[in-house]
C-alpha cells in the first residue's frame, strides 16, 4: 500500500509517479490525501480531500481509531518506540467526529481509512510540500511519522516516511552543511568536538559555536540593519519567497548584496555585485537525490564568457580573506574533504560513483550504501519517538472579506521561477502563463468563465490572472503556482513561518476573487 499525503507527484516528481502507478497496476492499494483532486486520484482506492492545513487533526483521528479498535502494531510500538502513552492520550482527544469537524472528512470515512491502513503491511507513506509548507509543518511531518510508527511501517523496504525532495540537490545542500546549525554530515556547530575537528581540517583557530540565522531571519535583519551583507547563490528570492512586496523591500535594504547566478533574475536587480557561474552541464560534481543517493554530474559543455565554477569563486574569495584552500576541483573537494569530514559519507569516493551512485549512510569504502533507514524498526536514535501533537489552524483562514483559501505549488511544465525552463525552446508553448485554478461551483456562482481574466487579492497584494475552471480544486479554494512573475502566487502568500524550521505557509492564506470589469 502507498499513502500519498500532500504530494502532487505526477507534476512535481513525474518519474517517481510512474513507479507509483506501476505499483498500482501490479495490485498495490493507493490512498491519496490531498485537498485537490490530483492526477493520482485516478489511480487511488481512496481519495481523502481534507481541508487545507487539517492534516494533524485527520491523522490524530486516524490514530484514535487505530488505538480504540486495537488495530495498531502493538509489538512494534512496544519494542521499537517510546512516548505511546502521551500519544494515546492526545489521540483520544480526537475522536473521528472531532477530526471530521476540522478536516471535513466524515467520521465514518476516517474509521474506514484507519482500518484500510491497518490492513496491509508494510505501507509506504510519501509526502511533499503539502505537509511542510504550513506554520505547523514540523508537526505535520511528525504526525506522518507517528502514524507510520503506530502502524509498524518504519524501517522496511516499501515502508517508511518518504519526503520527495523538490530540488535536484536540496538533500545535498543539507548534507553539505549549508544550514546554520550543522557542519557537513549533520555535525552540530554547538558541539566542541565537532568544531575542533573542523578547525583542524580547515586550519583555523576557532569556528563560531552559536547556530546562525535561518534564511527568513537573515532577510528580516536586512531591514533592521543587523545583517549588512547578503550573499545569494543561485536563488531567486524576489519571486520564491512569500509576499514579494515585502521581500523586495528587504533586498533593497541590503548594504551589500552579492548575487552569484547563471542568469540575471528578479533578485539580481538588487545586487551590488553579480558573479557569473558555470551551470549544471558545465561542471564535474555530485547531486544527492531524495533517496540520499549521491550521483555524478559531468561536464558536457563550456561555460559562456568568463563564467566560473561556483566552488572556484568561493575559493578565490577565501584566498582574498587570507585562506589558502588546497582542493582545486570538485573531486578533490569531495574525496579529500567532504568524505573525510562527514562520517556518513566516508565510504563514498568519486571512483565508486561511476554507475548508479551510492546511498548514505555509507561509513566505509567497503560499505554498499543504505537504501532503507531505521532497518527493522531499529532507529538511529534508539527508539522511535512518538509525539503528542495538537492541531492548529493556518495563520490566516478565510473570512467574510477574503472568503477563499489560496494554496500554491508547482505545475508540470515549468520549474520554480522559470529561470531555466522559461529559457528552453518549447516549454513556454506547453504552458505560457499562470492561471488561478478555481472550482466549477465557485466559477458558476460568480459567473466566471474558463479563461476569463480575474483579480485575486490578499491582504498583501493583488494579481490579475486567467481563471482556469477545473475539477482539480474543491469549492472555496484558489490554487496557483509561482512560475510567472506577473501573476506569481507570492504576491499574495503569507509570510508566516513554522516556529522550528521557519518554513513559510505557502499552502494556505485567505484571498478574494473578483471578475474584472
Amino acid at each position: 500500500m502507498i499513502i500519498l499525503v500532500g504530494t502532487n507527484i505526477t507534476e512535481a516528481h513525474p518519474v517517481a509517479a510512474t513507479f507509483v502507478k506501476d505499483a498500482v497496476l501490479a495490485g498495490c492499494k493507493l490512498i491519496v490525501i490531498d485537498p485537490r483532486r490530483t492526477d493520482m486520484v485516478d489511480f487511488a482506492d481512496t481519495h481523502v480531500p481534507l481541508n487545507v492545513g487539517s492534516d494533524v487533526a485527520l491523522i490524530n483521528g486516524i490514530m484514535n481509531v487505530l488505538i480504540s479498535e486495537n488495530l495498531y502494531d502493538k509489538k512494534y510500538v512496544e519494542s521499537c518506540t517510546e512516548g505511546f502513552e502521551d500519544l494515546k492520550k492526545k489521540a483520544m482527544e480526537y475522536p473521528p467526529e472531532r477530526a471530521a469537524g476540522i478536516s471535513g472528512i466524515p467520521a465514518d470515512n476516517i474509521r474506514e481509512l484507519a482500518r484500510k491502513m491497518a490492513s496491509v503491511k508494510p505501507a509506504m507513506l510519501m509526502y511533499t510540500l503539502g505537509i511542510t509548507e504550513h506554520i505547523c509543518g514540523v508537526n505535520n511531518v511528525m504526525s506522518c511519522a507517528n502514524l507510520q510508527m503506530l502502524l509498524g511501517n518504519v524501517g522496511f523496504e516499501c515502508g517508511g516516511v518518504n519526503p520527495q525532495r523538490g530540488q535536484n540537490n536540496v538533500q545535498g545542500a543539507c548534507d553539505m552543511g549549508a544550514l546554520p546549525n550543522v557542519f557537513p554530515g549533520y555535525q552540530q556547530v554547538a558541539n566542541a568536538d565537532a568544531r575542533a575537528k573542523f578547525e583542524k581540517a580547515w586550519n583555523v583557530k576557532s569556528l563560531p559555536d552559536k547556530p546562525g540565522m535561518m534564511m527568513p531571519t537573515m532577510m528580516k535583519n536586512l531591514t533592521t540593519g543587523k545583517v549588512k551583507a547578503f550573499y545569494v547563490f543561485g536563488e531567486n528570492l524576489a519571486n520564491t519567497e512569500p509576499d514579494i512586496h515585502h521581500v523586495e523591500r528587504e533586498l533593497q535594504s541590503a548594504e551589500f548584496l552579492v548575487c552569484q547566478d547563471i542568469f540575471p533574475t528578479e533578485t539580481t536587480r538588487f545586487a551590488h555585485v553579480v558573479l557569473p557561474a558555470a551551470a549544471w552541464s558545465e561542471n564535474e560534481g555530485t547531486f544527492s537525490s531524495s533517496e540520499r543517493r549521491v550521483n555524478r554530474v559531468r561536464t558536457a559543455s563550456v561555460p559562456p564568457g568568463v563564467a566560473k565554477p561556483n566552488w572556484w569563486i568561493f575559493k578565490e574569495i577565501a584566498k582574498r580573506m587570507g585562506h589558502d584552500w588546497k582542493s582545486n576541483s570538485a573531486q578533490e573537494i569531495w574525496d579529500n574533504e567532504v568524505s573525510v569530514l562527514a562520517p556518513s559519507l566516508a565510504g563514498i569516493k568519486y571512483a565508486r560513483l561511476e554507475n548508479d551512485g551510492l546511498q548514505w549512510p555509507c561509513p566505509s569504502e567497503e560499505h554498499p550504501g543504505t537504501p532503507t533507514l531505521h532497518r527493522d524498526g531499529k532507529f538511529t536514535r534508539g527508539l522511535g519517538m512518538l509525539k503528542a501533537i495538537d492541531y492548529i489552524p493556518p495563520a490566516e483562514v478565510p473570512d467574510k472579506e477574503y472568503p477563499f483559501v489560496l494554496s500554491t505549488g508547482r505545475r508540470l511544465y515549468h520549474y520554480h521561477t522559470r529561470t531555466q525552463t522559461g529559457r528552453c525552446q518549447g516549454i513556454n508553448d506547453l504552458l505560457g502563463e499562470e492561471t488561478a485554478d478555481i472550482s466549477a461551483g465557485d466559477a458558476q456562482a460568480m459567473g466566471i468563465a474558463d479563461g476569463e481574466m480575474i483579480s485575486v487579492k490578499s491582504r498583501r497584494g493583488e494579481v490579475k490572472v486567467k481563471a482556469r475552471v477545473t475539477r482539480e480544486v474543491p469549492k472555496g479554494m484558489v490554487w496557483m503556482a509561482f512560475h510567472f512573475r506577473e501573476a506569481c502566487a507570492n504576491w499574495l502568500t503569507n509570510p508566516v513561518y513554522d516556529p522550528v524550521t521557519q518554513t513559510a505557509e505557502y499552502k494556505a492564506c485567505a484571498v478574494k476573487i473578483d471578475k474584472l470589469k
Partner: protein, 354 residues
C-alpha cells in the same frame, strides 16, 4: 534447481514462466526483436523474434512463448532466417524507410536487420503515398512520422504500461492501423504530458526529438552520463554531445533510480544553458545604479574587501548567505566553508526550509 530445455541442440537452464527470448539471452543466444519491451507484457507483434519449436505447427514468437521443460528450440536455422528476412522485407515496404532522410539513421533496429539480412532491394510494393498518414509535428518536442512507423506498439506499451500516462493506443484496423491519441488528435491537443518515453523506446525513426533534428548523427555524438538538474528524484541521463554542445537527452536504460525514464523537463528542458541571456562576466553596480562589466579580480577584490570591512565594523554575524539547492554538493560545501572558516559566522542557509 532450475528446469532445462534444448536450445540449438544444447541443454540450457530456464526459470519457470520465462519466455524463450529471455531464456535464450541468458543462455548466450541473441534473438533479434523489434516490438519486445522489457517490463511490458509481450505482444508478439513484429514476428522478427520467430524461432522453431519442435512439434509446433508453425514458427513461434520467442518473446511471448513460455519455455517448457525439454522444449527443443532452434533459433538459427535457414527456415528461421528466411522467415525473419521475409518479415523485415514486409516491414520495409510498409512505409517510407528511406534512411538517408531519417533522423534515426544509424540508430534503427529495422535498418540493422535489413543490413544483417543483406536486403538490397524492396521485394514488395511500397505502401501508397495516399495511404500513409501525414507527419505530425505541431508540438514543440516530438515528431511523429507515420511513414516510418512499423506498428510494433512499443510506444503504446511504454505509455500505458511503464509510465502509465495513457495518452496513446492502437487505433483503426488492418492497413489503416495507426498509433493514436484519444480522438486521434495531435499530441499537443491530447492527454500527452511529453515525457517522451515513446521516443525513447521507438526502434525506428517514427518518433524522434524535434529539437535534435539535423544536429548530429548517432555516430557523431559522444554520450555523457549525468544527473537531471530538476527535481529530487535524481534521474540518470545521457547527454548526446556534438562539438561540445548537447544535441539531445535520453534516459539511461537499466540505471537506478529512473530505469530508462525521464519527464518532459528532464528530456527536453536542457537548452537553457545556451541562452543568450546567460551571465558571462562579473558585474559591478556603479553609483548611478547601472551595472558595468568587471574583471574577476576586481569583482572578487571588491567582495572580499567589503566583507573584511563589515567584519571589522559590525562583526562576522553581519554577513549572511544562502547557498543553492540546484548546484552541486561541492559548491554548497565550499560556500559553508567560506562562511564558517573565512568569514567566521554560521549565517549560512539555503532554501531547504521552503
Amino acid at each position: 534447481m532450475s528446469d532445462t530445455f534444448i536450445l540449438n541442440g544444447k541443454e540450457t537452464p530456464f526459470m519457470p514462466g520465462q519466455m524463450i527470448l529471455d531464456a535464450a539471452r541468458n543462455g548466450g543466444i541473441e534473438i533479434p526483436t523489434l516490438c519486445y519491451l522489457k517490463g511490458a507484457a509481450p505482444t508478439g507483434a513484429c514476428r522478427v523474434c520467430c524461432v522453431e519449436v519442435k512439434g509446433a505447427r508453425s514458427l513461434t514468437a520467442a518473446c511471448s512463448t513460455p519455455v517448457t521443460p525439454g522444449m527443443e528450440v532452434t533459433t538459427d536455422s535457414d527456415f528461421v532466417h528466411r522467415a525473419r528476412k521475409l518479415n523485415v522485407e514486409l516491414l520495409l515496404a510498409s512505409g517510407r524507410h528511406n534512411c538517408l532522410m531519417c533522423q534515426a539513421n544509424g540508430d534503427c533496429r529495422l535498418q540493422d536487420l535489413a543490413y544483417f539480412y543483406k536486403i538490397t532491394e524492396l521485394q514488395f510494393k511500397e505502401k501508397d503515398e495516399k495511404d500513409i498518414y501525414p507527419t505530425e509535428d505541431m508540438n514543440p518536442f516530438i515528431v511523429r512520422d507515420f511513414s516510418r512507423c512499423i506498428l510494433c506498439g512499443r510506444c503504446v506499451q511504454a505509455c500505458n504500461e511503464l509510465v502509465v500516462n495513457r495518452a496513446i493506443s492502437q487505433g483503426y484496423r488492418g492497413s489503416e492501423s495507426k498509433v493514436v491519441t484519444g480522438g486521434d488528435s495531435p499530441y499537443n491537443e491530447s492527454e500527452c504530458v511529453f515525457c517522451g518515453q515513446c521516443v525513447q523506446v521507438c526502434p525506428v525513426g517514427a518518433l524522434t526529438e524535434k529539437k535534435a533534428k539535423g544536429l548530429g548523427r548517432p555516430w557523431e555524438v559522444q554520450k555523457i552520463r549525468t544527473t537531471c538538474p530538476y527535481c529530487g528524484v535524481g534521474c540518470q541521463q545521457w547527454l548526446h554531445i556534438k562539438d561540445g554542445k548537447i544535441v539531445k537527452v535520453t534516459a539511461v536504460e537499466d540505471a537506478q533510480p529512473n530505469q530508462g525514464r525521464l519527464c518532459v523537463k528532464g528530456r527536453f528542458a536542457y537548452d537553457f544553458i545556451y541562452s543568450a541571456e546567460r551571465l558571462k562576466t562579473p558585474l559591478i553596480r556603479e553609483k548611478d545604479g547601472e551595472f558595468r562589466e568587471a574583471s574577476w579580480d576586481e569583482a572578487l577584490d571588491l567582495v572580499a574587501d567589503k566583507f573584511k570591512e563589515i567584519i571589522k565594523k559590525d562583526g562576522p554575524d553581519a554577513i549572511a548567505g544562502v547557498s543553492c539547492a540546484r548546484s552541486i554538493n561541492e559548491d554548497s560545501y565550499q560556500m559553508q566553508k567560506l562562511f564558517r572558516a573565512a568569514i567566521g559566522t554560521n549565517n549560512i542557509d539555503h532554501c531547504a526550509r521552503t
